[in-house]
Amino acid sequence: MPKENRFLPYLREDRLPHIFCPGCGNGAIINAFLAAMEKAEMDFDNIAMVSGIGCSSRIPGYLKCDSLHTTHGRALSFATGLKTANKDLDVVVFTGDGDAASIGGNHLIHAARRNINLTVICINNNIYGMTGGQISPTSPKGSFGTTAPYGNQDTPFKLAELVAAAGATYSARWTTVQIENLVTSIKEGLKNPGFSFIEVATQCPTYFGRKNKLRTPTAMAAVMKANTVFKSAADRMKPKDLEGKIVVGEFANTQRDEFTENIDKISVEKFGKKTLINSAYTTEL
Amino acid sequence: MRTEIRICGFGGQGVILAGIILGKSACLFDGKEAVQTQSYGPEARGGASKCEVVISDSEVDYPKVQNPDILVAMSNEALIKYIVDLKDNGTLIVDPGTTYVDDVKDYIEEHNIEVYEAPATKTATDEIGLKIVANIVMVGAITKITKVISKEAAIKAIEASVPKGTEEKNIAAFEAGYALAE
């Protein structure tokens, strides 16, 4: 008998098997999330998940919590409404590079600007997996995709840095090769009472790998590991030497006013009225 | 009976508030029906400003003013632009400090317009010491001249419409306007 995964109780077993490809990083990231959630001593029943469209956005559907699988790119706007309507919920957003940074880019920077207490796990595989291997806003310059048959000419976004610049109070980047660090950062993000963004660089052997001569998950992991530079080291390196590197570490870890607390504060301080929760179910308002 | 009123001037004079007070007086305190509309075009960002009120004993169906029974002009530009819509035998109230009735005297004669001069801006400045209450002075004059709303209703509507703490000055402005047309 194989040993049962200790995280199984958190999964909707009746939805298995999942749709992820062999070698996909999503499984490792789900494990990292659940480990971090336990380490942060979160109440799993109080977690609500929101996601957009794409491979990574399918994750909440496999977890046994309230989950809102929304439209492409818009997860953060739905999450903003959900969290504002009930700020007692711990809202976690799973998203990908295309979902968060391309179609949802505007929502991403505005959610960071508001410092709304959401924990966003952005699984960055540098490609559109669900639709079959098109380049994304994080695809490295020169990489290949079905919509970049001659190599991607565009400069990719650096998401963790972008989100930090937009005002997130916690932002970090790790890869699926550094699970320990990833767990620690997700834990930090869950505990941070503000906008937390954890970017995870991951392998997509099916599309990114196949298009870029990295046919196995292990080959991809090896390249990712070889290209990783810690932020502390990167800060002392020249931009030229950082080309093609994945800089890992924390890009923001600070505190400032949180969005839903500010809304509540106006109601309480000006009108002596706490923001109502679950008001739709009553007529006594 | 349906009465159509158009109050016009330039941005900042408070012609919109004057119209709102007329409408509010009529339907909240005089037991009549009223609809107030205004222009929202780029002109509302400065330049000409226009506010319209329909007051009626019965329900107001069509809500817009087409041919006013009463035209109140607080700028010359507005006077020239809107005089042509005024009904035959209609009432024209102008602020002589900001308009030149001579510019429209042909229309006044041809259409038998009844003209009243209410120096609202001067009264507001000289008697109340606040130029910005010229609109309320004008409401006083309109109330007295046209009787389209009652004095009691107007005072209640002013109290309910102006910023808290300014009621006294505004009522004084109204009374000064009401007295102008004695």
């Binding site: 504002t84 505005h110 109601s267 000006k270 008001s279 308002l285 | 780029p42």
Partner: protein, 373 residues
């Protein structure tokens, strides 16, 4: 004691929302609807509600859906360009059966067109704007009082049927001031919380198609998706029967309750030669024209353009020779009236664009033209 106010249509809409129990508003500034947002920004904190100015209309629609699952009655208000942007998320709300209210204060269109002028160019956007098959509910107010009343009704219908409901107003009604009477006791429909049983199905295929909806955090651990899903909410995108059953039910829960949802008002229709059909602001001109004419003319005012009240309209127009649809576009609801009435009557369109409400005189001219003078 009932209270009386002399306020703008947009303010009345905001007041109605609060009276209906709306405690979350997300929106983006757009003329001529902005006063709805401005009023709620001021008033919601007073009643323990939340106001959020989002980064765009797409985000506004997303936020109100999220807030609805968070347990708050929620609303957004916008105009044509904003409605265009919201359409994908509106489709999501239909698919996920999320109660929300969308207020559209219509302006001259297409594109940016006439932000400060009135039109009724979004009626088909409310009907068919998002992709796929669904049955929307839309209400069109013709007075400031109705903008207040219909906003409350929109919330009640949204809860009753777990659907997005549109309030299709226009610049005339949004911006004009009139008296409204706010009664002491207003009937509002609270959301029903499901019972926590092992066999609870959040998307159960029941006869009237509406199951109670839990809030996130209630412990139901439900999955909500825009993908085709089974009764548990689990994606099942490749089984034709699952999709057919789901979409059919989402349509039927509105269509099978049309007799309860649809509303029209009418006068002098029984023996009229000509019947004027209108909704929203043009009703005001139509009523005045009908009162002025000495011809045998009646009118029908459509309170609920969607679902289209075909049965009521067919019955009311059975004896009319001619029907004139008066609307502020180049023919939208006209085609619905024509579909229903063309067997018995000649259906004419009086489509007015340009931004001004058609005048009673213009309508009287149209009556003369159609009726032969």
């Amino acid at each position: 004691m009932a209270e009386e106010f002399f306020i703008q249509g947009n303010e009345a809409c905001a007041k109605g929302a609060i009276a209906a129990g709306c405690r979350f508003f997300a929106g983006y500034p757009i003329t001529p609807s902005t006063e709805v947002a401005e009023t709620l920004a001021r008033e919601l904190p007073k009643v323990g509600g939340s106001f959020v100015q989002m980064e765009d209309e797409i985000a506004s629609a997303g936020a109100i859906i999220g807030a609805s699952w968070g347990g708050a009655k929620s609303m957004t208000a916008t105009s044509g360009p904003g409605i265009s942007l919201m359409q994908e998320n509106i489709g999501y709300a239909f698919m996920s059966e999320t109660p929300i209210v969308i207020v559209d204060v219509q302006r001259g269109s297409p594109s940016t067109a006439q932000p400060t002028m009135a039109a009724q160019g979004d009626m088909m956007q409310a009907r068919w704007g998002s992709h796929g098959d669904y049955e929307p509910i839309a209400l069109s107010p013709s007075s400031v009082q109705e903008f207040f009343d219909f906003t409350i009704k929109a919330f009640n219908l949204a809860e009753e049927y777990r659907v997005p409901v549109f309030v299709m107003a226009d610049e005339v009604i949004g911006h004009m001031r009139e008296k409204i009477i706010v009664e002491d006791s207003i009937e509002i429909v609270p959301r029903k919380r499901p019972e926590k049983t092992d066999d609870y199905l959040p998307f159960e295929n029941i006869e009237n198609g509406t199951t109670p909806m839990p809030a996130f955090g209630d412990g139901f651990n439900i999955h909500v998706t825009g993908l085709t899903h089974d009764e548990r909410g689990y994606p099942d995108t490749n089984t034709p029967e699952t999709h057919d059953k789901l979409v059919q039910r989402i349509c039927d829960k509105v269509l099978n309750n049309k007799d309860k949802i649809c509303s029209v008002k009418s006068e002098n229709c029984e023996d009229a030669d000509i019947i004027l059909v209108s909704y929203g602001a043009p009703v005001r001109s139509v009523v005045e024209a009908v009162n002025k004419t000495d011809k045998k003319v009646g009118y029908i005012k459509i309170d609920t353009p969607w679902p289209f009240p075909d049965e009521q309209i067919e019955k009311l127009t059975a004896n009319a020779k001619d029907i004139i649809v008066v609307e502020m576009n180049l023919g939208q609801m006209y085609y619905e009236v024509d579909r229903v009435c063309k067997r018995n009557s000649n259906v004419h369109l009086m489509g007015v664009i340009g931004g001004l409400l058609p005048t009673p005189d213009e309508i009287l001219e149209e009556i003369d033209r159609v009726g032969g003078n």
